[in-house]
């Protein structure tokens, strides 16, 4: 899916500018704990999160995330939007909750970009 299609689908608002609308995203991941995100997200995913602070953007950059959607109508701070703009990370705010967001994306052929966590070293 392209970013403007996703904005419509999640009834959201794109808060950053200069996003490359031709960017195709195929998978997503939902989570509020940034370490969980780093542990299990595949590259090039959409990140759905209820967390609303600049670490979301920094985590997204570290984990090669393509697009961040803030759930439940969270409005980020000016600093967070500026960081996202400076680093070229598209940021959408959606009024929907994480479950509804996930369900709508899944219905539109967005697959899970969650990879199995390796527990073997600790078993």
């Amino acid at each position: 899916m392209k970013i403007d299609e996703i904005v419509v689908l999640v009834e959201g608002k794109l808060l950053t500018h200069g996003a490359n609308n031709n960017l195709e995203v195929a998978g997503a991941f939902a989570g509020d704990l940034m370490s969980d995100v780093l542990a299990t997200i595949k590259p090039e995913a959409i990140l759905l999160t209820g967390l609303n602070n600049p670490q979301v953007i920094r985590t997204a950059l570290i984990a090669d995330i393509r697009l961040v959607i803030l759930a439940r109508g969270k409005i980020p701070s000016e600093e967070m939007i500026e960081l996202a703009n400076n680093e070229g990370m598209p940021l959408i705010s959606s009024p929907l909750g994480l479950f509804e967001l996930s369900a709508r994306l899944a219905k539109n052929n967005i697959v899970s970009f969650e990879q199995g966590f390796k527990l073997s070293r600790y078993e």
């Binding site: 704990l33 940034m34 780093l38 600049p54 979301v56 920094r58 090669d64 600790y122």
Partner: protein, 318 residues
């Protein structure tokens, strides 16, 4: 383009690189130099031949080097329609001249093009002598060339950085990056790690390696912010065949390292968890990203976490 004299703060943030370039570039950098000019004694027929032969859409008319008018394709069409193609160019040329100075910004020309119907502007120097001609096509080409130069400059930086280890010969070459991390500085949490990731990409690391290093060092950075007495330091040493990352602090130390390595185990406060951290996955994540992790910790000295990624091994694995 919006009126540049009337920028609000929010629209100012939206200025693109192309718009910046319209202010940075001068007319002299994008114009066509030594344009084909027509003498006042040239006939419309000769002008038609010249314009056709050189595939241009108009030309300035000069008298002893002084600019006196401009002839466009429309003027040629008018003379053909009138059947007066043997008259002099001075009969049909536009005398009401809009010129632009060679050291004006490109944005000035854009303003003229948007306000008037002219297709080309004669460019003059400080003495009003004709030095070039400017069309919208010249501006597009100039902007595209400038964007291309930007791209090449970044590629050159990347190329130079990625050949650092080949260009500088020693028995053992390494590059060391150091970052001081403050306790409780959640606002900048992850900023150092993102700089490290960018530096590694510039040095020629693959996306996978940069991501792994980024995740490991990000977790270590957040640990310094969350768990230390006074913050600490990140130190990254890049060598040709391995990257050694180190996070160190002066306390309070990890009482039980094995427990700290258990997925989900966390001593982080409720506040920290509300900020999205303290999932109890930090050290576990680091361990999953690096080839070797060594933790040394004591109450007296503090904690050192060594994280090593072997590049030769990784290159064959990925």
């Amino acid at each position: 383009m919006s009126d540049p004299g009337n920028l609000s703060d929010s629209s100012a943030k939206r200025i693109t690189r192309v718009e910046e370039l319209a202010y940075e570039l001068t007319i002299a950098e994008v114009m066509t130099r030594n344009p084909i000019t027509l003498d006042i004694n040239t006939s419309m027929r000769e002008a038609l031949d010249l314009i056709g032969k050189n595939k241009i859409s108009g030309a300035p008319v000069t008298s002893n080097g002084k600019l006196i008018g401009i002839l466009s394709t429309e003027d040629l069409i008018r003379s053909l329609r009138d059947g007066r193609i043997d008259r002099k160019v001075t009969v049909y040329m536009t005398q009401n001249l809009i010129t632009i100075h060679e050291y004006d910004q490109v944005v000035e020309a854009l303003k003229v093009f948007s306000k008037t119907k002219v297709g080309r502007l004669p460019v003059v120097d400080a003495n009003n002598k004709l030095v070039g001609i400017l069309t919208k096509g010249d501006i597009s080409n100039g902007l595209l060339n400038a964007l291309q130069r930007d791209l090449e400059a970044e590629e050159l930086i990347r190329y130079r950085a990625s050949h650092l280890f080949e260009d500088i010969v020693s028995d053992r070459t390494s590059l060391i990056l150091r970052y001081a991390i403050k306790k409780d500085d959640f606002l900048h949490g992850g900023a150092a790690s993102n700089r490290i990731k960018k530096a590694l990409l510039r040095l020629g690391a693959s996306k996978q390696i940069a991501r792994k290093c980024g995740i490991a060092v990000y977790e270590a950075e957040m640990n310094l912010i969350i768990h230390t007495n006074h913050g600490g330091f990140l130190r990254v040493e890049v060598e040709q065949n391995k990257i050694v990352m180190e996070a160190y602090d002066d306390g309070p130390g990890i009482p039980d390292i094995e427990k700290a390595m258990t997925p989900g185990f966390s001593t982080a406060s409720h506040e920290v968890r509300n900020m999205g951290f303290g999932a109890g996955m930090g050290l576990v994540n680091i361990n999953n990203c690096v080839d070797e992790m060594i933790i040394k910790s004591s109450k007296e000295v503090g904690t050192n976490v060594y994280m090593i990624i072997n590049l030769d091994k990784a290159a064959t694995q990925d």
